[in-house]
């Protein structure tokens, strides 16, 4: 292909690329850049005035904004920590069990455990809200069956539990994704490696920890960064279950809901596109930072094994 030295301009390459590039640039890249730019302006007397980093100074320093911002950021970090600590280990465990040879019904388990992942946040949020509701009494009733009724409280309604409860609901919904990706990674470990391990007498749990786990570390890295991006961009579940005010008392407010309120305004607060853009810029920087850490620190250190 590359051998032909002088060829006429290949129009077809342009034709093939143009539609995708056009839509992608116009709807995604330019608005993203536009949002970053808007965060440096402020609407004064009906016109956009360049104010430098003033919006960010307000976001970090002005108590009207900074209290909510730091609260949302803190909650978002907790949201992410719960996902990393609960979702990914459960995903790895389920995948390890599913990939054990000659396991019967494994297709059924895979299909069933993935069901929550395909449901929309609206369904998930409301269904759990109903289940945890003291009005309906399903959760206390079930806890009564195992003798734990005294531990029940309306988790979603109490400030100290609501965020953790919502994080666990989100974990429940998305556990299928790490499970599937790890399952795929485990299946791609060649038979010879496992057999060699068995010849050396490494079986069962030891085999998993010493042989398989190091081999699937790159997949765990990918899952972690996907979780990171997903969590710092989350909005729907909180909005559905707790509303835009992310109650009780902002205890479940994360960056996504904070952005929504700042941008559109809510109740007495008037919407402010510039502050919205500033929050979106912060989310952009956080996500970009996470992706860079992953690409330059994590991924290069995880050795990939070529089989």
């Amino acid at each position: 292909m590359a051998a032909a030295p002088k060829r006429p301009f290949r129009w077809h390459i342009g034709v093939f690329l143009a539609p995708a590039l056009l839509v992608y640039t116009a709807i995604m890249i330019l608005p993203l850049a536009g949002t970053l730019q808007l965060s440096l302006f402020r609407n004064i007397n009906q016109s956009q005035v360049f104010v430098g980093l003033e919006n960010f100074r307000m976001l970090f320093g002005d108590p009207n904004w900074s209290v909510n911002f730091w609260n949302a950021l803190r909650n978002n970090v907790w949201f992410f920590i719960i996902h990393m600590l609960v979702q990914n280990p459960i995903g790895v465990l389920l995948a390890a069990l599913l990939s054990s040879p000659r396991l019967r019904f494994s297709a059924f388990y895979r299909t069933a455990i993935f069901v929550p992942t395909i449901l929309s946040f609206v369904i998930v949020g409301f269904a759990w809200k109903l289940i945890l509701s003291p009005l309906w009494g399903v959760a206390p009733h079930m806890m009564d069956l195992v003798g734990l009724k005294s531990l029940f409280t309306p988790w979603l309604g109490k400030a100290q539990y609501a965020l953790t409860a919502l994080s666990l609901i989100s974990v429940w919904q998305f556990v299928g994704i790490p499970m599937m990706l790890i399952y795929a990674a485990l299946l791609s470990i060649p038979e010879e490696v496992i057999e060699a391990a068995e010849c050396d007498g490494i079986t069962g749990m030891a085999q998993f920890w010493k042989i398989k786990l190091p081999l699937i570390l790159p997949s765990i890295g990918i899952i972690s960064i996907l979780t990171f991006v997903g969590n710092f961009n989350a909005f729907d579940l909180i909005y559905t279950a707790q509303g835009a005010l992310a109650g009780p008392n902002y205890s479940t407010d994360i960056l996504g809901t904070f952005l929504y309120r700042a941008f559109f305004g809510f109740q007495l607060q008037v919407g402010d596109p510039n502050m919205g853009a500033a929050i979106a810029t912060m989310m952009f920087l956080i996500i970009l930072g996470g992706v860079c850490v992953y690409l330059f620190l994590v991924q290069t250190r995880l050795r990939r094994y070529q089989f």
């Binding site: 034709v15 992608y24 559109f264």
Partner: protein, 279 residues
């Protein structure tokens, strides 16, 4: 595998854990669907039992169908999803073909540029997207949603499809060239049919987030005319907080089409994920 990995207690343990988790995963779904067919007394009296002739009641469904315009929302969702899917697949496959087939200056740079959107969510540009849609008069139209979702789906589609297109044999394409086929014919008649399985994978990946999205319908198209089923369900559920029959029926109506599609396509979806789409 040798007998060393097969011991009865371990198999039973594995099944016990998997069964428990399957129960946890399915319980809320089954609970909601089961109770949606009950009378109010049945819902509160015995939430954990399936509907009996004594508690069976379709009042929830009649309320939902009488109140909300769900058929219309459903049509909107369908139009948006199908149209976005069509454009993502067509444009994505074309760009993937250009990137994987031809060597030209800026090829890998172009690939990187398009891959940017895999990691950076399009939501972060919402403020400017809304301004753009207001300026072009597309607010409260399905076109706005279709455009946004097409842009959202393209990066991953290009990435996955170009991996697969690299595997299409060069001999086949060159044979086509010798026979005088144009590059367009080679793409549409030779390459596209060969990558159809991977197109299906991309389709499923693209479809689920579009169908389930709440953010963009809420911001770009909240009018009665353009509500999608996800937004419609959200608003409906918000209004009928105290009518449990209606809420459970609405939830079930929202769950069932997705669930049916999933049962039909789950094999395709799971094969797509496990075939190393994200390697």
């Amino acid at each position: 595998m040798s007998t060393a990995t097969r011991s009865l207690p371990r198999t039973i343990g594995a099944h016990a854990i998997l069964l428990t988790y399957t129960a946890i995963a399915l319980f809320p779904v089954i609970l909601v669907i089961m109770n949606s067919f009950k009378s109010r007394a049945g819902i509160f009296g015995a939430p954990l039992t399936p509907p009996t002739p004594g508690t069976f009641d379709l009042i929830g469904y009649t309320t939902v169908i009488g109140q909300g315009d769900f058929i219309h929302y459903f049509q909107n969702s369908l139009v948006v999803t199908v149209a976005s899917l069509f454009f993502v697949l067509l444009f994505g496959a074309m760009a993937a073909f250009a990137l994987s087939e031809y060597r030209f200056r800026g090829n890998s740079l172009m690939g990187l540029y398009l891959a940017l959107g895999i990691m950076i969510p399009i939501r972060l540009g919402t403020v400017a997207i809304l301004q753009l849609m207001v300026a072009s008069g597309l607010v409260n139209t399905l076109t706005a949603l279709i455009l946004v979702y097409t842009a959202q789906g393209l990066p991953l589609a290009v990435f996955i499809l170009s991996e697969f297109m690299k595997q299409v044999s060069d001999d086949l394409k060159n044979a086509g060239r010798i026979d005088g086929l144009s590059e367009y014919t080679i793409f549409f008649r030779l390459v596209l049919p060969l990558v159809r399985p991977s197109m299906a994978t991309v389709a499923v990946f693209t479809m689920i987030p579009i169908w389930n999205d709440l953010w963009f319908p809420l911001i770009l198209a909240p009018s009665e005319e353009t509500k999608t089923v996800t937004l419609g369900a959200q608003l409906f559920l918000g209004q009928f907080v105290t009518n449990w029959n209606a809420i459970l029926a609405a939830l079930s109506l929202a769950i069932m089409p997705v669930l049916i599609l999933y049962v039909i396509f789950s094999r395709q979806l799971i094969r797509g994920i496990t075939s190393g789409a994200v390697k």
